[in-house]
């Protein structure tokens, strides 16, 4: 294991991290997700060595870090607000760390980063003359040129304009392949994590709720909190009987028999199929529903539908919206496969 966080606890102004455990392999790209105030940034600060640990230990390549000051840890950080040195040129910003860490072939390394990030033309400029996207690329170069063991990214995209965001996302993917550096990306945006990371951990209230492959978290959230966070809108507390789940008189076919009698089921909004007429299809669950509300979001729209006072949210493209023409109060048919129903907790 490259990075191992063991039973880490931090207390800070009444806010606390508790029993945080996490392991990252060398060269991994892990996303640390969670709602605002979950403690993601505090965990990063603990890794860098800026806040004292109350319990636990952090190991890097097996060596404990807790005695080491930030400058001895080999952990670089990139902040949301770039944090470039305003009194230094782009060149001096990027080269800042090189005088402290002896990096072999640092000239080559620097040249390669500059060319990959398209920064050659900006070397003599000062940070205040750069766009947000350019500044963040400089910050990335500065953090990576010293070949850190770990690169921490604290919501590096969220201050950027959408156009730059996409651009930087591509750069991040690109750079991750090159060195052996492990990336740990903090974000409160699940789609962003999904598009970048291989593994992920979801943090809620100072604890890690779930960690693992990002697809697994997306497909099999272990708790309602995680389910809600990864966009499983249709989350219901149900009673199981045989291979079906019951809630408010509604019987939902699961196609398999759960271990417990009670639990949660969740269905992704995009797994709900809507139609004006009942579909004759292989989908095991099909109901007549009443439209409650339609929220258009440009590319896609969310439709709230009611069945027996149970509200389902479906996502359809704006295109489909024009075909379905759903109006609050009218009826539509709603169907979904038994395999689209996820059992939680």
């Amino acid at each position: 294991m490259n990075l191992r966080i063991e039973n880490l606890g931090v207390e800070l102004d009444g806010f606390a991290l508790k029993e945080v455990n996490l392991e990252l392999e060398k060269g991994d790209f892990c996303a640390l997700m969670g709602p605002t105030g979950a403690g993601k940034s505090v965990l990063l600060e603990a890794l860098v060595g800026l806040v004292p640990l109350k319990t636990g230990e952090i190991y890097l390549d097996g060596k404990p870090l807790s005695g080491l000051p930030p400058e001895k840890r080999g952990i670089s950080i990139v902040y949301q607000d770039y944090a470039l040195f305003p009194h230094l040129s782009v060149r001096d910003n990027i080269a800042y760390g090189l005088r402290f860490r002896k990096v072999g072939r640092s000239d080559l390394r620097m040249a390669e980063l500059l060319s990959r990030l398209g920064l050659e033309a900006l070397l003599d400029r000062f940070p205040s003359t750069l766009s947000g996207g350019e500044q963040q690329r400089v910050a990335l170069a500065r953090a990576l040129v010293i070949e850190p063991e770990i690169l921490l990214l604290d919501e590096p995209l969220s201050a950027l304009d959408p156009n730059f965001r996409q651009d930087l996302r591509r750069h991040l993917k690109d750079l991750h392949g090159v060195g052996g550096t492990t990336f740990l990306l903090v974000t409160h945006d699940f789609p962003e994590a999904l598009s970048l990371a291989r593994h992920a951990a979801v943090m809620v209230n100072g604890r890690i709720e779930q960690a693992g492959k990002i697809e697994d978290i997306f497909l099999h959230p272990v708790s309602p909190l995680v389910a809600d966070f990864v966009g499983m809108k249709n989350l219901f507390a149900v009673e199981f009987s045989e291979t079906s789940a019951r809630i408010k008189g509604l019987e939902i076919e699961l196609g398999r028999k759960p271990d417990t009698e009670r639990g949660y089921i969740a269905i992704r909004p995009e797994d709900l199929v809507l139609s004006r007429e009942p579909l004759s299809s292989s989908m095991r669950n099909s109901f007549a529903a009443r439209v409650r509300e339609v929220r258009s979001h440009g590319f896609y729209a969310e439709i709230d539908l009611e069945i027996n006072r149970l509200v389902f949210t479906a996502v359809v493209t704006s295109r489909a919206l024009l075909d379905l023409k759903p109006q609050p109060g009218t009826s539509l048919h709603l169907a979904f496969k038994a395999t689209a129903v996820h059992l939680i907790g």
């Binding site: 600060e45 860098v48 060595g49 800026l50 000051p69 930030p70 400058e71 840890r73 952990i75 670089s76 950080i77 902040y79 607000d81 944090a83 040195f85 305003p86 009194h87 040129s89 800042y96 760390g97 005088r99 402290f100 860490r101 003599d124 400029r125 000062f126 205040s128 003359t129 500065r142 953090a143 010293i146």
Partner: protein, 265 residues
């Protein structure tokens, strides 16, 4: 209309205040004849006192800079119990009446206290000596330097320091390569304010050292011995010297900054 009347009232009051500050100074500067000014500046006693004022004031500001910078940094960067008490202590020299400052320092380093006698035995004379003047000036100038330097340090985002640390810089190197350069302007302002306050001091200095005479003391003596007319030219020259000093300090401090961010919009 109501909107305008409010603005006019504010403008009128502001003008009054500015006039109150400017008119006496302009009147004073314009009062002495050129001949009197010329005669004053070649008077060796005046030259000596101006020079004494300048070098004691600058020394006091440099002492504040060297010893005060760490305290300003701590006040800007760390939270600790009793921080408000420390801040109140630091502001004390502004609040203490000036002769009280002199009396308090004299009580410490004068010959009727063991500490003063100890200093005297080691050959360190402070009373009636430029060293004593520098001590008094340091005392009254400190809060001005600390205030400005503290604000300068506080305006440097801690994140920049965190990044520097994570890139391998020690606390020491981080301070000298990131924090200090970014707080430079505020520190320079603090030095100038401190120096100005030091040179302007009279009440405290006159108690520790009537002689050698700094310019304000000389001015006071001429006022008492010969009257207003003979003190005005000295006052004008003192102001001119101070202004020259501060303007040149500002220019020196600003020069490099401009070159450096030459590419900035």
């Amino acid at each position: 209309m109501r909107k305008e009347s409010f603005l006019w009232l504010a403008l009128a009051s502001s003008f009054l205040v500015l006039l109150f500050i400017l008119v006496p100074l302009l009147r004073m500067v314009s009062a002495p004849s050129l001949a009197a000014l010329r005669a004053t500046i070649i008077d060796p006693e005046v030259l000596r006192s101006l020079w004494l004022s300048l070098y004691t004031g600058i020394s006091a500001a440099l002492i504040c800079f060297v010893f005060g910078t760490p305290l300003a940094w701590l006040l800007a960067r760390s939270e600790f119990r009793g921080k408000r008490v420390v801040e109140a202590i630091v502001d004390l020299p502004i609040v203490i009446p000036h002769p009280v400052v002199g009396i308090a320092l004299l009580g410490l380093v004068g010959k009727n206290f063991w500490f003063g006698r100890l200093l005297h035995e080691f050959g360190l004379r402070l009373v009636g000596n430029p060293l004593g003047i520098i001590m008094v000036m340091t005392f009254v100038g400190l809060p001005f330097y600390l205030q400005s330097a503290k604000e300068g340090f506080a305006s440097v985002p801690p994140r920049l320091e965190h990044v520097a640390r994570s890139l391998g810089a020690s606390m020491f190197t981080t301070f000298f390569t990131v924090t200090f350069p970014l707080a430079r302007r505020a520190i320079l302002s603090g030095i100038i304010m401190c120096c100005a306050r030091a040179i302007s001091e009279f009440g405290a200095v006159v108690i520790i050292a009537y002689h050698p005479m700094i310019a304000p003391v000389l001015m006071f003596e001429r006022f008492q011995s010969y009257g207003l007319k003979y003190s005005q030219p000295v006052a004008v020259w003192l102001i001119v010297v101070c202004l020259l000093l501060f303007v040149s300090l500002r220019l020196v401090g600003r020069g490099p900054e401009r070159t450096r961010s030459g590419g900035a919009r």
